[in-house]
Symmetry: C2
Subunit: 268 residues, 2 copies
Amino acid sequence: MAGTDLTQRGLGDGIAAGAPAIILIEPQLGENIGTTARAMLNCGLTEMRLVKPRDGWPNPYAQAAASGADVVLEGATLFATAEEAVADLEHVYATSARPRDMIKPVVHPRRLAAELRRAQGVQAPTGILFGPERTGLRNEHLVLAESLVEVPLNPAFCSLNLAQAVLLVGYEWFQSGLEETALTDTVLPYPGARPAKSEDVRLFFEHLEAELDATGFLRPLEKRPRMVRNLRNLFLRARLSDNEVRTLRGVVRYLAQHEPQRDPEDGP
Amino acid sequence: MAGTDLTQRGLGDGIAAGAPAIILIEPQLGENIGTTARAMLNCGLTEMRLVKPRDGWPNPYAQAAASGADVVLEGATLFATAEEAVADLEHVYATSARPRDMIKPVVHPRRLAAELRRAQGVQAPTGILFGPERTGLRNEHLVLAESLVEVPLNPAFCSLNLAQAVLLVGYEWFQSGLEETALTDTVLPYPGARPAKSEDVRLFFEHLEAELDATGFLRPLEKRPRMVRNLRNLFLRARLSDNEVRTLRGVVRYLAQHEPQRDPEDGP
């Protein structure tokens, strides 16, 4: 539906073909449709389907609230019934609290994302139903879905607005498209710099230690190896950049020049 | 700070001691403080710290927007500087786009949550800095943090409002407190019912097959084993409840009674 011109608009990254459709059943406030569009685009989701929006469509309040996610609203398609909105989909999910009178599998958003990615891999179109703001989906909608989606949150305070529910489901979708390591690793970027070469780090250490030897800081001699090791570890943990090593050599040089030399007998 | 009376209010579930403090630096709109409080409580986070909120504190707009998360606002503490707000914390994180002139580890919310849980395990207090709505955190705030938190989203459309940023970070925090299987398994609840016993399912199968034999549906005989197997698998996949097995037996009984018996020669 939407999406053909996304790459032209520079929205190609993170927008995968075969992403799930977000299907809003009888949404009430245009503003909520707009903030939902924004949450969708945040997560690389662009296909919005609307079933009987209360205040008609298009809705100027939606546009105003979308904060630039117009591409989602412009591509939104309108349906008269939930059945028609899901007719072409192979896997349909419904976001809902667990009903007390229905036996239906329940998945959390992380599991949902994995299932959606599997479907994407075999070109199976998918969609997720979200209910009206106040009442949520009715049983007539839930029966359209193969599984229910439940967002695990503080059970004593778990109500989310429409855009937030879409955001959490979309967030897991987007994360599931990233490498596992991207989610669990720490990245240390060196903007405008390079990690220092070991050789340069070693020369800095030797410079520092030579100056400290001169001040008597590394006394008594039997403690010197341990003190040196601790100092080196401290700086190694910082994973210095090349610039930082140059800066530190300057620091040592200046401190050693400008500090009055202490009598080694005074110690630190 | 907040939290002492949470269990009395029935908010105990999902509220873990040692959860990170959410620190809002110079938040502008009271409404955003309120929606942030709501997002926090959704995720079991209750300790809010405010540094120089633009419109003073308390703020009636915050209360109005909190939709019942008053316990967070009532427990919020006010600080004059970011330094004071983090003074007692052992691990401080800052949510920010990657600055171009700083070498600082970057983690995603999932990794952040794992680090926060590890700190919680050793009673190390933690906090996460969030910047003013329009401008985000400044360098003077980022230097207070050991790592930056970046939320992976559509790079072409990644701006989040304050409450949504807190919600995504809090969501990962809450998920990290659940069993891994709770996130990745499918749960099939049987409200008001029990999964059917194999014996009862087998009796239903035999009932169905006997009736189908009587109608001639399972002919020719050499195809019968495969047809029976396919039918049984279909029903087994549904993981029937005890009630449903009783219902299905009624369905078969009624169909077999009320349908005119066909001549076996006609076949289905």
